[in-house]
């Protein structure tokens, strides 16, 4: 069985051997795997910090660690998870691997820049890790001034440098994707024949390119202010801290869409494949990705409702924030409409897709609460906000990321994973996630503030539920790490198209050859055309 699995043909994994062939590779698929391993390490590191937070919060007293240590824990959890896991997660791994294949290209437009962007992430991560092991940082992932520039006695500068460098990694990935989508499509691959995953990554790339530089320059100013003790953002010296918040959220609100848009792209693929129907309202889903990217830049002020931002600006930002709900809802309605009368199969990736739709809907709808000026004053900086963005980031992005990994794993490695274990862990993650974060909505509404390591006794039951959920969630995340590793050696051979899916990535070998195709395909049908696949498989 295993010997029969040996591939006759050379593929991207066998095309070179040794560490050097990986560290100097220009193959987008190998670079995607480099990213995959890197961000997996960061994910589990961020998870360790999350565990420390949940352990501390089991009891109302601050007994496990001091408040200073607790501040460092949630800060490092946030920085690692946002900048070194979520932002690169889907685009840099699945996008890097599949975007060129899905549009019928041999590689991205700039393979060397692609490799450079991985090195930048690693170097940036190195700075962040150095800061952590040298003593940590306690500003919160938002680096709010003047605390970060004047008062914090922790490793703010090293962390800021790390995030700055990682930002350029993200910019270069986005630049590469935009040029590739515009100029590298195969003959016949028109814009409205592209898979929705490509559309989503294209929209994401626009945000990366337009937003990230503003974060970079903001960090330059923070760096200058902290290193030289000048007062650009310090009111005591004539500066304005709200200006920092504007600059920061100009990037960091759209960054939420950098994290979730590619996830939506994955879900479009999964829903179509496992209901064996073309995506309902294809062009609306494609356009809604662009709409989210654009509207996402007009709403950042809703993070500043309780700052000294003028109430009139608050009204404008509040009003505009509701508009993000429209393209998001278009996606959810079209996904559910795709399921209607579909031939639905409950494979593991589809379980994650269902999880995504439910959890993202909750996360999105609670976002509307937060967009409304009056209600937001009540729940600002409470666990309600924490629960909201974890429903979007974890319930949305990570569910989609795991769904995508389960979907494309046979293509990336040529092997199948054990189905029963995979379904079990999908269920554990869904249950563990809800147990962790649903109580936090209630906690927040009752008034539990974020970023405190001690709390009144009446909150304990809900906090214990949340911590219990976190341990269930941890098991759910560890299981895939084990069975994916197992499948590399012992998994059954997958074949080129195990799901009967459409898309150019399923028309090449598993794993694909170095330049993806023996011959560049000519595309003569629309996306998600199952009649052609059925003819092939028959």
């Amino acid at each position: 069985m295993i010997t029969a699995a040996v591939q006759q043909r050379e593929n991207y994994l066998t095309a070179g051997h040794g560490l050097k062939s990986w560290l100097l590779t220009k193959d987008h698929k190998r670079i995607a795997l480099l990213y995959f391993f890197t961000i997996t390490v960061f994910f589990f590191l961020g998870g360790v910090f999350a565990s420390m937070i949940r352990l501390e919060l089991i009891t109302p007293q601050g007994d496990l660690m001091s408040s200073d240590t607790y501040n460092k824990m949630f800060t490092m959890h946030g920085i690692i998870m946002v900048f070194f896991f979520l932002v690169p997660s889907i685009p840099a791994t699945l996008g890097n691997f599949f975007l060129p294949i899905m549009i019928g290209a041999r590689d991205l437009a700039f393979p060397r820049i692609n490799l450079l962007s991985w090195y930048l992430l690693v170097i940036g991560g190195g700075f962040a890790l150095f800061a952590m092991f040298a003593g940590g940082v306690d500003t919160g992932w938002t680096f709010y001034t003047p605390y970060s520039t004047t008062y914090s006695n922790t490793w703010v500068l090293a962390t800021a440098v790390g995030v700055f460098i990682a930002g350029f990694s993200s910019i270069l990935t986005g630049l590469n994707f935009i040029v590739t989508v515009h100029r590298m499509r195969a003959p016949g691959m028109t814009w409205f024949r592209m898979p929705l995953f490509v559309w989503a990554n294209y929209a994401t790339a626009l945000i990366q390119v337009l937003g990230t530089p503003v974060l970079a320059v903001t960090l330059v100013l923070v760096f200058a202010e902290r290193a030289l003790h000048i007062g650009i953002f310090d009111p005591a010296l004539g500066g304005d801290p709200v200006l920092f918040q504007h600059l920061f959220w100009f990037y960091s609100h759209p960054a939420v869409y950098i994290m979730v848009l590619p996830g939506m792209g994955v879900i479009s693929e999964l829903i179509s494949t496992f209901s064996r129907k073309p995506v309902y309202g294809y062009s609306f889903i494609a356009a809604s990705s662009l709409a989210i990217a654009i509207i996402g830049f007009l709403v950042w002020g809703h993070h500043l409702f309780v700052s000294t931002q003028s109430v009139y600006a608050g009204m404008v930002f509040s009003f505009l924030s509701y508009f993000v709900a429209i393209p998001s809802a278009i996606k959810v309605f079209n996904w559910t409409a795709t399921l209607y009368k579909g031939s639905i199969s409950f494979e593991t990736p589809m379980l994650y897709a269902f999880g995504f739709i439910g959890l993202f809907t909750i996360g999105g709808l609670t976002g509307l609460f937060l967009a409304s000026l009056g209600l937001d004053v009540h729940v600002t900086d409470t666990y309600f906000v924490i629960a909201h963005f974890h429903y979007v980031m974890v319930g949305g992005t990570i569910m989609a990321y795991l769904g995508g990994i389960h979907y494309w794993w046979p293509k990336m490695t040529g092997r199948m994973y054990p189905d029963g274990w995979a379904k079990l862990s999908a269920g554990i993650i869904f249950l563990g996630f809800n147990l962790t974060f649903f109580p936090q909505f209630i906690l927040g509404y009752m008034g539990m503030p974020r970023r405190y390591h001690a709390y009144p006794d009446e909150f304990q039951v809900l906090h214990v539920l949340s911590s219990a959920g976190a341990s269930v969630l941890a098991i759910g995340y560890l299981l895939p790490a084990i069975y994916f590793a197992w499948s590399l050696k012992y998994g059954p051979v997958a074949g080129p198209n195990p799901w009967g899916a459409t898309g150019l990535e399923w028309k090449t070998d598993s794993p694909p050859p170095t330049h993806n195709f023996d011959e560049i395909p000519v595309v003569n049908h629309e996306a998600y055309d199952y009649t052609s696949v059925e003819a092939e498989l028959a």
Binding site: F297, G301, Q309, Y312
Partner: protein, 102 residues
Amino acid sequence: MTSATPHMDSVKTYITVFLALIVATVLTTAVAFVDLGAFSVVVALAIAICKMLLVALFFMHVRHSTRLTQVVLFGGILWFGILMGMTLIDFSSRNWIGVPGR
């Protein structure tokens, strides 16, 4: 226009544009010494934008670029406008209601 090289203008055009840029520099410096009140910044920015357009359209050949390049350039300027405009909505409407700190 050969396919492998971008379109070029004549040396005469480049020299004319260059001289226009020098004149604009002298002009913007001179006009800064005149008291125009609030208009001095408007004039300074107007001259700078003209200079930018000269450099972009002629030296960077945006005149002959593909439509896509022009869209990219326009998009970049638009997004800078969003950053400035939406932030200025806040800073320009502070203290309208007379409550300190709002």
